[in-house]
């Protein structure tokens, strides 16, 4: 059993008497990759802000491992253009040595920009900088709010791969919000579908069949995800149509755990 980092027990957050997050139970352990998905306004950001301690909770209880160090990657980093800041200086504000800063930047692939101004970075580079900044603090728990936004499609896959490898090298827990359902399903251990309360949670391959998931995201999305997980059960011809009969019984990879219909 790996070490528990944080536990939420019936956590509720309300704004002006309107519940935004309601009755959430959640346990995060070292080594977990937990992804929160859900529609806009479902309270995803509020929930992770509650876990990081930025957002006070209204009811329930939140336990964090004493001395828990959190690496936080906020949704949007709007930097005041009036504040001159280089990546070097921004990283140094963590108090880490320049060697550690450089190697964190190298891990996220933006070390060549060490002396560049943060105001010149593209969306993807900014995300990588924020992740580097979070990981240089050697966090127990990495919390990311839509880490892949502003990153191109190839970059997105690489980014989730990076997050996975960071989990392994830092032996930390990872909690993130994502809208990239297909990529999430491939890169995560546990998915939580949030719509104020937790609609459903579980392994990615199970959740896309869950009625609660289908209710939140609609049949087409759920089907497209189901297709994603079963993409090897049929072939396509050159027009993209499904060709039946060529491989009637799909072959499971070693990791496959799903049942046959």
């Amino acid at each position: 059993m790996s070490e528990t980092l944080a536990t939420l027990n019936a956590v509720t957050v309300t704004f002006n008497n309107t519940p935004v997050v309601e009755n959430v139970h959640l346990t995060i352990s070292r080594g977990d990759i937990i992804t929160i998905i859900g529609p806009n306004g479902a309270g995803k950001t509020t929930l992770i802000k509650a876990i990081t301690g930025i957002q006070p909770i209204t009811a329930g209880s939140l336990w964090r491992k004493p001395g828990l160090s959190i690496g936080y990657v906020p949704q949007r980093l709007q930097l005041q253009p009036t504040l001159p800041l280089t990546i070097r200086r921004f990283m140094a504000l963590t108090g880490a040595s320049s060697g550690a800063c450089r190697s964190a930047l190298a891990q996220t692939g933006i070390e060549p920009l060490y002396d560049a101004s943060v105001h010149r970075l593209s969306g993807g580079e900014m995300q990588r900088l924020l992740i580097a900044r979070a990981l240089v603090r050697q966090p127990d728990l990495l919390v990311l709010d839509e880490p892949a936004q502003g990153v191109d499609i190839n970059g997105q896959a690489a980014l989730y791969e990076l997050i996975r490898s960071l989990r392994d090298s830092l032996n930390c827990g990872v909690l993130m919000i994502s809208h990239d359902l297909h990529l999430v399903m491939a890169a995560t251990d546990k998915v939580i579908c949030l719509n104020q309360h937790i609609c459903c949670s579980g392994y990615p391959e199970d959740i896309s069949h869950d009625p609660a998931f289908i209710e939140v995201f609609g049949q087409p999305v759920a089907e497209s995800l189901a297709i994603y997980h079963h993409h090897h059960n049929h072939s396509h011809d050159l027009h993209g149509d499904v060709v039946q009969g060529q491989s009637p019984h799909h072959i499971h990879g070693e990791e496959c755990r799903h049942d046959h219909p």
């Binding site: 930097l79 009036t82 001159p84 800041l85």
Partner: protein
Amino acid sequence: MTILDQVLGDFFWRALIGGLGVALVAGPLGCFVVWRRLAYFGDTLAHSALLGVALGFLFQAPVNLSIALTCVGLAICLVLLARSRALATDTLLGILAHSTLAIGLVALSFMPDVRVDLTGYLFGDLLAMSRQDLAWIYGGAIVVLALLFWLWQGLLMSTIHEELARVEGVPVERLRLVLMLMFSLVIAVAMKIVGVLLITALLIIPAATARRLARSPEHMVLIAMVIGMIAVAGGLAMSWHFNSPAGPSVVVSAFLMFTLTYGLIRQQQQ
């Protein structure tokens, strides 16, 4: 000792030394005004200083002290009111800025025994700097600079990104309060130089000029300090030569430097 006495005995030198002291603290605090978009907030605090003057006369307290205390009180009110979100912050600031100024003016008119040089408070009376004023300015400057040096990393981090700072364990709220106390202190001492209506200019213009020349936050602070000091010296020289009012002259010379650097950088870029 005799040289110092001679220097301090001359009103012009007192004005220069006092002005330079204010520029020294206005530099770093001005940078925070620019970074945190507090221009209107600073203006509101400055306007309330006149209420502080009136209260000082009413309770026969030292004027500098009552200005500082009034600014602190207003700053705390502002933070609490802004948190309730009943009104947009700029509306709230607009109401409080002009109301406190007006209440100050009305209150002063009710004190027939008190003869106040209103122009001095509104636009500054640099040339009437006393030795006591100098002690206030340098005492305040030492306190503010020491606090800034001590709290620099946290202040900078919470300015860059408040939530990130909070997750990293920076006491964001406490630092905000300290920053406001520093503003109040600086306004109380800077009022002598440029007056209620022009204090924000002395905070913002050197910092905004420095932004175009600086490569790091610390660099920007140092340049803002130097530009503020040049502005004070230039304004006094202007006042000496053309017999213009000293406070506004300081602001004019700061503005000239701003336009000059702006123009030079534009030219370089082309």
